[in-house]
Amino acid sequence: MRLVKLKALVLVLLCGSGAVSCGGSGSGASVTVLGPWTAPEEAGFRAMLAGFEKQTGIRVDYTGTRDADSVLASEIQNGKPPDAAVLATPGELRQYAAAGTLRPIDGALDQARMAAEYGPGVRDLMTATGPSGTPHSYGIIVKAALKSVIWYDPKRLPPSVSAVLTARGLTWDRLIGAVAGLGTRPWCMGMADTSNSGWPGTDWIEDLLLHQSGPRAYDQWVAGRLPWTSGQVRQAWQAFGAVAARAGGGPGPILLTNFGSAGAPMFTAPPGCFLDHEGSFIAADYANDPTSPRPGTDFDFVPFPPVQAGQGAEEIAGDLLGMFRDTPAARKLIGYLTTPAAQQAWIRRPAGGAISMNRAVPLSDYPDPVSRKIADNLTHAGTVRFDGSDSMPHVMSSAFQHAVLEYLSDPGKLDVVLTALDKVRQSAYR
């Protein structure tokens, strides 16, 4: 009995001193979560968390900031990471797992349910190699997005262009041909996103490379084996440059326009632009437009067209939640967020912009026809590739984003930009 009391006392002292992690697993316990979601996305994530809090009595303290990755890096450096954090890329997941900063979550997941509800490719994205060289599950995909999407307003797009867009067998060349008649600014484009500015351009180049040169070249490029100065990569950059040249106003407005508001001119009369290349999550931003556009009626999408009809491929992205402090409460949260009930809490929200990778979530749970179509594309896609820049080493990804901005600022510098990226590639993949 005395031994039990002594153990209890020691535990209390250790908990108090912070020497051990004492996040409980029931009422009164809490979990701190850091993530990049603010405004409508934050509301969606909080809807997921509300179900968890109600079910377990565990409080979740969520901090949302667009600079979550740099905040996380700073907190890790100070030795005070949150219990869990949303990582923007699998590259970051692998990096933190290899460094031993992330904790394996195998024990937090019901492996049989995971195998039944998530595809093998998705589970691969959640896996990384730990410091001991053994692979483990290190993260879960909280929500996914379809990146290869071109948005338009069906009511404002001229019928001739609309007919080309919605016809079977749409190809890149047919799209460019149809767009030629849409005045000086057919494309909507905005690169600004504070410390992550430039990523909308990386998405463009990834999609162009994937569709122009195919998945094999794409994989080699992402793995650092295809030089940036290669013909395929250069071709993608040049195609992107040609699109940007028709996004109106020169480099200044493109660099300074926020990605979230870049598509807003689609909904004005007359439209300021007609086509917006953004991930599926942009639906949440459209919903905030003062004109209150409705999915399906005021905005719709077509998948990024292949160069040759019938050879489509989809680029996807996902936000991964990793555990930095192994507490019972954090483990419970991780396990809960993979369940269909948790996933439904976000995807059911009107214009929530979230797509679930959980196959047990039925399409009928999505709140509008556009979300259902995106989810259908995502789950039935033939060739699927994860966002290339998100899969690259962090240094390479950052350099890629900066290079996009530099290229847009001065398209004549393409050779300089690509040569510089190759220099980064030589050290980033070591």
Binding site: T32, T65, D67, L72, L405, E406
Partner: protein, 354 residues
């Protein structure tokens, strides 16, 4: 015992005296209990008021002002960077010395906030986010500087715009600093609204003091009647001391409370108003410079301009914290009252023994 036996054998007068002795003992006990109660009733609010004032003066207000100063410094840093880029000075000196000084000021204030730790776990979490966002902000300004010096002015201005956006947008650096400030402000208001610094807290000690005084007067009358003495000097002295003690203590506590309320309701808003004006000036300058308009280098962060208001606040809070050594003197005075009351009653009790 000898005295009481003598009193018992002395007829009717003896029987009356026989009843007097235990009553005097009872009165003595009651006087001691009431005196102890008075000490507790005065000391508890006095100590609680001191704790509240000390917490507000030493932690809540410095934290609140620290967050405000950090905000003002960051706003001014941003304006200084824009000024340097717009004027072309950035080609030689980057975002400039004033930017560097402002960032240093902001960093020092954020460090001070961490040391004070007034806002608790929520504040610590916010502060960690702020530190990360500050690194991001500085990185973007450095990137702007690098692009500008390489001759790519549009990209330089784009990066500077990203930096400013990361500072000002919802969920950005300044909104996080403001959230910390809001938590600290709540702590300041909690001090201001504390019952311990309100005059109403004196009601209970006042009742106890009046009870004790009334009781001592009654004892005085009773003893005068029972022993045919007009005046019991120690009891009179106890009453005088008690009245003086109560008046002095209450006066000091009321003065402290009033000084505290004045500092919080007048001196503090006057000071924060100056900081807010400086923030407004810096932000207006940044907006003008971003839009390509001109903005002078005057206005913005000026710590010296806040010093008179800061001194008024400091002196107000110092006056609030100054209760004239009451905590030390109070037990001695209460002991004095108790001693004098005991002496007055003991003298009568001795008459029985004698």
């Amino acid at each position: 015992m000898v005295a009481s036996a003598t009193v018992v054998t002395a007829g009717a007068a003896g029987r009356r005296s026989w009843r007097l002795y235990p009553r005097l003992r009872l009165m003595l006990g009651t006087a001691m209990v009431l005196t102890a109660l008075l000490w507790i009733a005065v000391t508890v609010p006095l100590l609680e008021a001191r704790t509240t004032i000390a917490f507000t003066r030493d932690r809540a207000i410095p934290s609140y002002l620290g967050a405000l100063t950090a905000h003002a410094a960051l706003s001014d840093a941003d304006r200084s960077a824009w000024l340097s880029f717009r004027s072309g000075e950035a080609q030689l000196i980057g975002p400039g010395q004033r930017y560097q000084d402002d960032i240093t000021t902001a960093g020092q204030n954020l460090e001070h906030l961490a040391e004070l730790d007034t806002a608790g776990p929520e504040g610590r979490q916010l502060l960690r986010a702020v530190n990360g966002q500050l690194v991001t902000y500085q990185g973007l300004v450095e990137q702007a500087d690098a692009s500008y010096r390489e001759g790519d002015r549009p990209l330089g201005f784009a990066y500077l715009t990203y930096a400013t956006t990361s500072l000002h947008n919802p969920g950005g650096l300044l909104s996080r600093v403001d959230q910390i400030g809001e938590l600290d402000h709540r702590a300041v208001l909690s001090g201001q609204n504390s019952v311990w610094v309100r005059p109403g807290v004196l009601l209970l000690p006042a009742i106890v003091a009046v009870l004790l005084l009334g009781f001592l007067v009654l004892v005085q009358v009773y003893v005068a009647l029972g022993f045919r003495r007009t005046i019991n000097l120690p009891l009179v002295a106890a009453c005088v001391l008690l009245t003086g003690l109560t008046a002095g203590a209450f006066g000091a506590m009321i003065h402290s409370g009033q000084a505290f309320q004045t500092a919080e309701s007048r001196a503090l808003p006057a000071l924060t108003g100056i900081w807010q004006a400086q923030i407004g000036g810096a932000d207006a300058g940044t907006t003008a410079l971003r839009a390509g308009r001109t903005a002078g280098s005057s206005g913005g962060l000026d710590v010296a301009a806040t010093e008179p208001a800061q001194q008024r606040l400091d002196s107000g809070l110092a006056a609030a914290a100054n209760t004239g050594g009451l905590v030390v003197v109070l037990p001695l005075l209460v002991l004095g009252v108790a001693g004098l009351a005991a002496l007055g009653l003991q003298l009568r009790l001795h008459e029985f023994r004698g």
